[in-house]
């Protein structure tokens, strides 16, 4: 019988963690003993079925740990590089003329929310497959058009997330693991396709992006060579961005990276000025780069047997869905919630669509809402204080497996961002991912009406835990 640890306890200062009656903690402190009260809540909020599920996987704890260690390594080592710009149908796997990609888990036309329908209409107009709204709606409902989640094609899209065959897309490559990721170029604010707008000006802008913006940036990027996205994200976190709702620093950095090469191109200076003005006037230009960078990182960690790490979270404005590494292609889906946020002048909660977009891929990789402490500027925007931001981030350490080695938060003394969300930890603690997001108007074409925080629906996480227990539990 070895009791050295007990004798070590006798020789060292007592330091207590207190679970339960707070008076025990108070008396210990009065006595001069270091004691920490834990703000404990019942596991799984007391849901017995879920507690049983958690207990049933505790026997394979070491297997889970090994699998998650592997996932953590892949996520931390992953190195997305921006390598090129291409046309969707030429580069995205299985992309074709009659296929439209959308945000969120799988959905049919009839269940799509207003902004997504509007964006589908806009996409069909842009492709020249319909001449007007009515034609586009008929076509979308006819069955001749197929719909598929961006996520099924190594792609992510903000808000409605609509990608059609001839749209230009950023191309990311994970230098370590070889997998690719794609996203369209950000259209700017106001009336834009991703919020469901499809007026002529929207379509015209998309055409300009395809015909002028994308080819020029592509050439500039070729002159520059691949851009290390992980490096840029590490920098933006130290510049007040969190990569989801604030992308001002990221946008600036991309302009800095590309500008010397853009000006070397043999183009009219009016054309170049228009391009710089377009990027400059859109603080979210970088969002469509941070998103595929995150997708590129996390996709390499998919399909690891027995891993409880979340590999995708996304919303369609109708559903909220997640995927888990150890549970393959299965989506766990629940109704998309409303966003709790601040509204732009003239709008209120009654104008809001439910939560929408693939942009929560940023939180999935540990930036966005998870790195809120890095972006105090937007905490006001989402109705909190800088202290709240720190608390948000610190809470996320409770449900993640590792701290990022490269993405660091200055306000937390350069602590790494909370990375690799673990469904078991969510169920155990009852703490859910904190998600920063923009709010779309519920009607097509009006655009962004506010921004705020989303509480994801509990059910999809709980269902995933139960499915995991069923597959791996004893």
């Amino acid at each position: 019988m070895s009791v050295e640890k007990i004798n070590a306890l006798f020789e060292n200062d007592l330091e207590v963690l207190n679970l339960g009656l707070e008076s025990f903690n108070t008396t210990l402190k009065e006595f001069g003993v270091k004691s920490t009260q834990i703000a404990w809540t019942p596991p799984a909020k007391g849901n017995q079925e879920l507690i049983d599920a958690l207990d049933s996987v505790s026997a394979v704890q070491s297997k889970i740990q090994a699998a998650n260690d592997r996932a953590h390594e892949i996520i931390l080592k992953g190195k997305p590089e921006l390598v090129d710009i291409g046309i969707a149908e030429e580069v995205i796997p299985e992309m074709r003329k009659n296929l439209i990609l959308h945000a969120g888990p799988p959905i049919t036309w009839d269940r799509m929310c207003g902004p997504m329908k509007g964006a589908v209409i806009g996409g069909l107009l842009f492709e020249g497959m319909a001449a007007n709204r009515a034609e586009a709606e008929d076509l979308a409902a006819s069955g001749d058009i197929e719909f598929s989640p961006c996520h099924h094609h190594s792609t992510v899209g903000p808000m409605a997330g609509i990608v059609t065959a001839s749209m230009p897309v950023w191309i990311m490559k994970n230098k370590i693991y070889g997998n690719m990721a794609y996203a369209t170029l950000n259209e700017g604010l106001g009336k834009v396709l991703r919020y469901g707008a499809f007026a002529d000006e929207v379509i015209n802008k998309l055409k300009w992006m395809k015909d002028e913006l994308a080819p020029i940036l592509k050439k500039a990027l070729h002159l520059h060579g691949p851009i290390d996205m992980k490096n840029i994200i590490a920098q933006i976190l130290q510049m007040g961005d969190e990569g989801h709702n604030r992308n001002r620093a990221g946008t600036s950095l991309i302009i800095r990276e590309l500008a010397p090469h853009v000006v070397m191109l043999n183009e009219k200076k009016e054309v170049l000025a228009k391009i710089f003005t377009f990027m400059h006037q859109n603080d979210h230009f970088f969002l469509n780069l941070s998103m595929p960078a995150c997708k590129c990182i996390i996709d390499a960690a998919r399909d690891i047997e027995c891993s409880t790490v979340i590999t995708a979270m996304t919303r369609s404005g109708t559903d909220f869905g997640i995927r888990v590494s150890g549970l393959g292609d299965q989506w766990f889906v629940a109704p998309a919630p409303k966003v709790d946020g601040l509204y732009l002048p003239g709008f209120s909660a009654k104008d809001a669509a439910a939560d929408i977009g693939d942009s929560v891929i940023t939180e999935t990789v540990g930036i966005g809402g998870f790195a809120m402490a890095a972006a105090p500027a937007i905490v006001k925007f989402v109705g909190g204080t800088p202290e709240d931001a720190v608390q948000f981030t610190k809470n996320m350490y409770e449900i993640t497996g590792v701290e990022n080695n490269i993405f660091q938060i200055p306000a937390l003394d350069f602590r790494g961002t909370p990375t690799a969300i673990d469904i078991l930890k969510i169920a155990e603690t009852g703490i859910f991912p904190v998600i920063n997001t923009g709010i779309a108007h519920k009607d097509p074409g009006i655009g962004m009406v506010g921004a705020g925080l989303v509480k994801p629906p509990q059910e999809c996480f709980y269902d995933a835990v139960k499915a995991f227990a069923k597959k791996y539990g004893t």
């Binding site: 006798f10 963690l17 155990e428 603690t429 703490i431």
Partner: protein
Amino acid sequence: MDKFLIEKDSYFDSVFLMLINSEIKEHPGVSEAVVAMGTEMNVKLLSDMQLWDPRLEQVNPNDLIIAVRGEEKEKVEDALTVAKGMLSKKATTGEGQKYVPRSLQAAIKEVPDANLVLISLPGEYAAREARKALQNNMHVMMFSDNVSLDEEIELKKQAVEQGLLMMGPDCGTAIINGVPLCFANTVNRGGIGVVGASGTGLQEVTCLIDTFGGGISQAIGTGGRDLKNRKVGGRMMLQAIEALRNDDRTRVIVVISKPPAQEVADTVLSSLKKSGKPAVIHFIGLDSEPDEDNLHFAGSLEETAGIAAGLEKQAAWKPQEYAPTEQQKRKIIDRETAKIAKPQKYLRGLFTGGTLADEALILLEQKLGKVYSNNQSDEALQLKDPHVSLEHTIVDLGDDIYTVGRAHPMIDPSTREERIRREAKDPEVAVLLLDVVLGYGSHRDPAGAILPALKEAKQQALERGGYLPIVTSVTGTEKDFQGYAETIQKLEALGCIVMPSNYQASLLSVDLLEAIMNKRGE
């Protein structure tokens, strides 16, 4: 010599690196240091300093460079390690308010030096958290009850395998490194290590050791089922004895428990014998056996404390020094029984401490015969209605049947207050016997809280033409925050008899009852 560390694609903010740079320059044995990103300017700087490595030709602004120059290889390498450590440093003291962890896992991360987890959660959740604590190599004290026997066995097996303490479930008292945990008293530190499968038993023994001039090295609770149930098999008792055996501060080992299963008792005794240290054993309710080698058997909690204190000081304990003289006792008995009325016949013991109730019950049964109690093992002597006393009755008010919807009577005195008022109405009550437990966890004034009810009880007896003797003892020390002397003073001011121990209080109650019976010529 020059040493280089070049990390490809590791971006750090330049201000952050400057800070590390200045620290590393100050490092012993370092004459020159550069910690910087591989920008053209920095590479040129290194080249100008002739701090050069061919790999520097390949670096880009995303690469981290750590370059250190010094005389001794070891010190230079040391500085490199320190720089690396600073770069990957995890912040534990962030700005702003302190983070309150919401789970055990997070707390362990936040407080990596923590070594004991105190669990007082509802029983249905307690075992899960204890399991996690043990998995993380933390000792556990579990105050929670309503934890199944199977869970207790599993947890204790796990703890023994890992060489950890698993105190409880249902462990209310421990003193670790002089720190009172949950319900425990502030006692002098010394050479006596106590292991107890009973809460108030541990409190009484540790307090009396303090009173007798001894001191406590460690007091370890095991939870009541540890020895009583053969399936638990005294696992934690044995573990604790082994630890006390290895503990240099501990010179005497004390073991107290409710009567154990026979084979468990045998294992415990042989482990004590093996320890080679003088040991005092008290199995509450069992007759004491003759001493054997290093084993001393005690017949009461008081005697347990006395023998232990004597062994520690190597000067035999003299019980008479800590008790009233026969003459003083006679005087008390005469005074207290002078005005007893005819119908007054029975003793009522109203206890807040379970082990103290047991000690009184066992003693009174031996001397008086039939005693009813909610703690009775004899079914015929269990109270049909636990709220109604019958003849001689001892109640343990800490029993679940009395605490539904309220805190333990050591915390919330109202349970006992109500019971005193009920007993006061019964003209057959001849003696009231009470415990008063001080220390952390207990009410801030356990005596003061029941004084009004006691006063009324005495008054009611007077009005009926009788007199109500109240016998008490105070479990506590001068160092307890409630005030030991003040507590005694309050009780005596009301006319209560305060004896030095629960054992003596119980004995005096018997004396009083016998004197009352003698007077009546029974």
